[in-house]
Symmetry: C2
Subunit: 472 residues, 2 copies
């Protein structure tokens, strides 16, 4: 980047709003994956106007801009593979309004999701999307990635809670999509197009969110299964009974083992699967009736069902699930956390196929996921210094994607395509649809300056990209 | 249209799939408004392939194509103002699949919404969106318009139930957007962009819908208010108490009077407002607790609360609400059924302003609406042969839009922009956003053949269009 452009940026953002020292830039060269690439500079705007000015300059100078929130991204979406400007929205972190009469919150993009949840809770309100990064990811990042979490079957993903937004186009214009109302058919659903667009179509500078009343009551149970198929059957039977629990989390055999090795709390390591189910709601009698109903269904199929009698017992049951990530981190230095999503009834088959693929390539695989909504996280553990292992990981990942698509599913339920899956986009989407998406990208970002090189396949195939991210 | 093109269409669609007689065309020249314009021909495809072939020819010949379902459209969206081809999707009317394990239905676009609801009910499942046209509008039309209904506050509008779709582009290519899974971040949310695009971006040829378990229990009550503000306060207090009822329907004074004149069932004609509230759910105890809670809140504010003790009493309460349309039709030959949506807390103020506007222009106005989600239908009754009255209707409509936007709302909650509101798009959306939407339209439909002249403002202003729809 030209020094004159850096100076122009500094004049807009002030000295604290622009980073150019290599040490500072390093922190913005990474995300939640193992990928890395250095930007030329980092801008930290504090207003929409600053965002618009930066985009205007970048568009004029043809410098790439990569927007970024908490950077817990798991698909490489915020890695600045072409250098240029990383735009961190973390200083735009105000909750602008909480309106309990209209069940609305208006926030800047840099608000940490958990902070918003805590604030609205004071009004008896709830913002349901809860990606596991909820403590450090931002609402802006969640919107850009259309983040999910544990409660999506019952409550839906981020897109279901966005009513409107202010955005800045790649050419530096400011607009507002959607609004403050829950029924709105004035023009196209532009806000929905921007949700999940991974920072490639616009920079989101303000978000109007729909809230719901906080469900006051919750009950949790854990079921242990000798056979994986029985866990799958249990999930189907709960659904068939007309029940949509708040969460239905599944851990496979190797996941149980890894967590037990980490926690030593006596988890059933001989079991093929564990299922954690939570019911919640606004009336105690209904939550009680629902969890008893689930208990009854599970008791027919599970080797053991453990219904938590109070909050602390429920907390204990959830501890195993929440320990998966730290437990996994102890096994191998690197992790490819996949994120396929299949129709719910295909979950056992998907898990079986993943296990077979891991065996075929002699890889350590730990599987957990959101069984209720079919979103499965097969985590392949590896050491990126082991060239042979890396090559086997790549082949296994490709076969996992293939299996998900064969079973009626897709590449990613909540992590996004970013860099890690762009080479596989054509597995899940037909050429017409990829063509339409590219046409939209080209029309809205004619100079291809906003987060270039993400989502769409290019010459650099997946098989090279994830392990060798230099400038392209 | 050239005779050779008609012949080419006939060879694709067969004799029963192409209409050219003026008598036949007449039925396709109108929709749910009072607008009319004749097409050159009507095609009735039975397959996606036929749809693609027609689009390909139309794109080559630069002939407009206006897709159409049940044509209950209330914004003129299916009026063929530029002649050309009307494409009726009503022969593609198969329910292709109902999958109770995955809570999914796959349908062709011509399936009547109510037929789908009845079919899935047999499996204990529910498809919630219920526009008042539900008995004759199609799923394809509902998706193209992002239709709403009474139950949107609790259950959400059509867009919340679409997982994926097959579509045909304006140039005749076939693609699939979205999928069969409830979490899907593979590429842009193209299916969401197409939902509510009013047939201007693609023809939807198959839809994959999310279903939910059917809520087995429901209770209904009616509250009568001496003052409109108390009805508004009641809605706010119900929300503040953490309750989201299945429906909260409001009728204003003139609406009560019109229905009473029609039904003669002793409605409270001295009251300023009536509120009809329905609770539903999966557990009887919870529904009972919720309706009692609502009853308690309303008893503090209403002159009278009437809780239906059984299904037939509930049915009786709903009869008044359902009689609004036939009752209104008796008063004047024409009706402008507006559809503004404001934040819930602004509903009383919005109704007051509408009443003042009607008084100012000496017009007969009947207001009802979905008070829970802020979607208000001010119906202006008039006679289109009365030139002076028509001119006052036009001025009043403009002021109603202005008021809705001033109160933080928008032009249309569920009817769409179509022809009737396109002149006002700039009231609700900024020029950047209209520009971005136009850019998308131009990029995906470079020859502007798919439902041209809809949504976006043009030279012919709203003030002429609705009452003089010739070829433009």
């Amino acid at each position: 980047m030209k020094e004159s452009v850096i100076e122009e940026l500094r004049s807009i953002l002030g000295p604290s709003g622009l980073l150019v020292d290599q040490g500072d830039l390093l922190a913005y060269s990474i995300d939640g994956t193992w990928l890395e690439a250095m930007p030329d500079c980092v801008v930290l705007p504090t207003s929409t106007q600053q965002v618009a000015q930066v985009m205007s300059i970048a568009n004029r100078e043809l410098v790439p801009v990569v927007p970024r929130g908490g950077s817990s991204n798991l698909s490489g979406g915020t890695i600045p593979i072409n250098g240029g400007i990383v735009m961190s929205l973390t200083r735009m972190n105000k909750i602008l309004e909480i309106d309990p009469d209209n069940l609305i919150a208006v926030v800047q993009p840099g608000v940490i999701t958990h902070d918003l949840q805590s604030e609205v809770r004071k009004y008896g309100l709830y913002y349901p999307p809860d990606p596991s990064s909820v403590q450090h990811s931002t609402i802006g990042g969640n919107v850009a990635e259309n983040a999910g979490g544990l409660r999506c079957l019952k409550y839906g993903v981020t897109s279901k809670y966005v009513l409107g937004m202010e955005y800045v186009t790649p050419t530096g214009e400011v607009g507002r999509a959607g609004g403050r109302v829950i029924k709105n058919v004035t023009g196209y659903q532009l806000e929905q197009l921007l949700i999940g667009s991974e920072g490639t179509l616009a920079i989101i500078t303000e978000i109007t969110l729909r809230l719901i009343p906080y469900p006051k009551y919750r009950r949790t149970l854990m079921a242990v299964f000798d056979r994986l198929e029985d866990a799958g059957k249990a999930v189907s039977e709960i659904t068939r009974a007309g029940i949509i629990p708040a969460a239905m989390e599944l851990m496979d055999k190797s996941c149980i083992q890894v967590v037990e090795d980490y926690l030593r709390i006596g988890l059933p390591v001989a079991a093929e699967a564990m299922l954690l189910v939570e019911s919640d709601g606004y009336y105690e009698s209904a939550v009680e009736a629902e969890i008893r109903h689930i208990d009854g269904i599970l008791s027919e199929l599970a080797a053991e069902v453990n219904l938590a009698e109070d909050e602390s017992q429920a907390e204990e049951l959830w501890r195993a699930r929440r320990s998966v990530s730290p437990a996994v981190a102890k096994i191998k230095p690197n992790k490819l956390g996949e994120d396929v999503c299949v129709p719910r009834s295909a979950v056992p088959e998907m898990i079986r196929r993943c296990q077979e693929i891991a065996e075929k390539y002699d890889l350590k695989l730990v599987i957990y996921g959101h069984a209720g909504d079919g979103n499965i996280h097969p985590n392949i553990l590896f050491d990126k210094r082991d060239v042979d292992e890396v090559s086997r990981v790549q082949k296994a990942a490709a076969e996992i994607f293939q299996a998900a698509v064969e079973l009626g599913g897709t590449l990613t339920g909540e992590h996004g395509i970013g860099l890690l899956k762009k080479g596989f986009l054509g597995l899940a989407l037909d050429s017409t649809t990829i063509g339409v998406m590219r046409t939209i990208k080209r029309a809205l970002d004619p100079n291809n300056i906003l987060n270039p090189g993400k989502i769409f396949p290019d010459e650099a195939s997946y098989l090279q990209v994830p392990f060798d991210v230099g400038r392209t």
